[in-house]
């Protein structure tokens, strides 16, 4: 494979990672505030269908994207209302919603299945796109890919470098302390859950009006992306930068699955296609395993040097969730 083909392939990785980044950053914001929105997978599918339907009927890409974000925000509002106001299990509600929204998308999307519709065009950035190798890799994409770069940086800056971001961390970590400092915990949780939902909703049109243009029902290939976004949120340690790295890694693994197929004829193509999914599960296992008691007990039997090395490796990967994640907050 020559360099040009590799650059084209890696540019494709950047493009296919964009919707995963939108969903992952959205979920990161939601979970940072303490709300688990498990409906991501169904939300992406429903928003992809809705935005394609709106874009086809109005011939407006902008309205399509707005529709997708509204769908995401509405689903997130249901999660927020049932969990924050009605105190129902966030996991149960999110899981039910992911099944309902996916089925709803397939049911309502039947009339538009296979139709051709508008698609977001590439917009190479002047000057930057001329840079050898880096230009085609990073700056010859659709505006959505550039938006994903900005979102990663913006979300990271917002969470870790601003006062409202500090309050967001407080609401997710110690809601009682955040409340004592003057934060309206419920309102902030509502806000970030809906904002996160809108970003998840943006992932749908990024597929149906960009990366995988069109609506093809159950064979659209969107099922499973939301679960990956949820896994990446954990893998990223609720940090947008690290989560984005995970998204690029996932897209890279998917690309490698396609590229390696001709070179490995002995391995069935299905194995390479699904390989990124079990690899993500293994990665999740690696980032959470460091906290398990049995791991410490097993490591205790190793020679001192090996034990130290493995412990250090596991500790560098280990992530811990916001302390208030999934727990309701009531004013005393």
């Amino acid at each position: 494979m020559d360099l040009a083909a590799i650059i084209i392939g890696l540019a494709g990785v950047m493009a296919t990672a964009a919707p995963v980044i939108f969903a992952t950053v959205g979920e990161t914001l939601s979970e940072r505030s303490g709300v688990i929105n498990l409906s991501v997978n169904g939300t992406i599918i429903l928003s992809a269908m809705t935005s394609f339907a709106v874009a086809v009927s109005t011939e407006s890409l902008f309205l399509g994207f707005v529709a997708g974000m509204i769908v995401g925000a509405l689903v997130a509002l249901i999660v927020a209302f049932t969990s924050l106001t009605l105190h129902q299990s966030q996991v149960a509600v999110g899981f039910v919603l992911t099944l309902t929204t996916a089925s709803l998308a397939y049911f309502l999307g039947n009339p538009i299945m296979g139709l051709s519709g508008p698609r977001v065009r590439s917009l190479p950035l002047p000057l930057l796109s001329e840079i050898p190798i880096l230009g085609p890799l990073f700056f010859q994409h659709t505006p959505l890919v550039y938006l994903s770069y900005l979102l990663i940086a913006g979300a990271w800056f917002w969470i870790f470098k601003t006062r409202p971001g500090l309050m967001l961390q407080g609401v997710g970590e110690r809601p009682a302390a955040a409340f004592a400092r003057g934060g309206n915990v419920r309102r902030l949780r509502y806000f970030y859950t809906i904002l996160g939902g809108a970003l998840v909703g943006l992932a749908g049109p990024t597929y149906s009006l960009g990366v995988k243009a069109g609506w093809k029902g159950t064979i659209s290939g969107l099922d499973g992306i939301g679960w990956i976004a949820l896994a990446l949120t954990i893998f990223g340690g609720w940090d947008p930068l690290r989560a984005a790295l995970g998204a690029y890694l996932f897209a890279l693994l998917q690309w490698l699955g396609l590229v390696l197929q001709p070179s490995l004829p002995g391995i069935p193509s299905q194995v390479l296609q699904v390989a990124p999914f079990p690899l993500m599960i293994l990665t999740l296992l690696l980032v959470t395993i460091g906290n398990a008691d049995w791991v410490s007990r097993t490591l205790a039997g190793l020679p001192e040097d090996a034990r130290r090395l493995v412990t250090r490796g596991l500790r560098s990967l280990y992530v811990s969730p916001p302390a208030g994640l999934g727990t309701p907050f009531e004013k005393e």
Partner: protein, 65 residues
Amino acid sequence: MLVNFQVVPAAFVAFFFAALNIGSIQLPIVLKLDSTLSGVLQGSLVLFVLAMEGARRRLVRLREG
């Protein structure tokens, strides 16, 4: 959660959802409707029950002050 963590009603609820699943295969043949409608019905039903349970508890809490 739907059966309030009780074993006996769980059997009836499981039977109901199994009937919905099996019935969904008949949907396209009999009613010319997509079988995914069954998923919408099941999900909406569970969501509605969860929301109603939450609303009931909230009302009780409000009434008790």
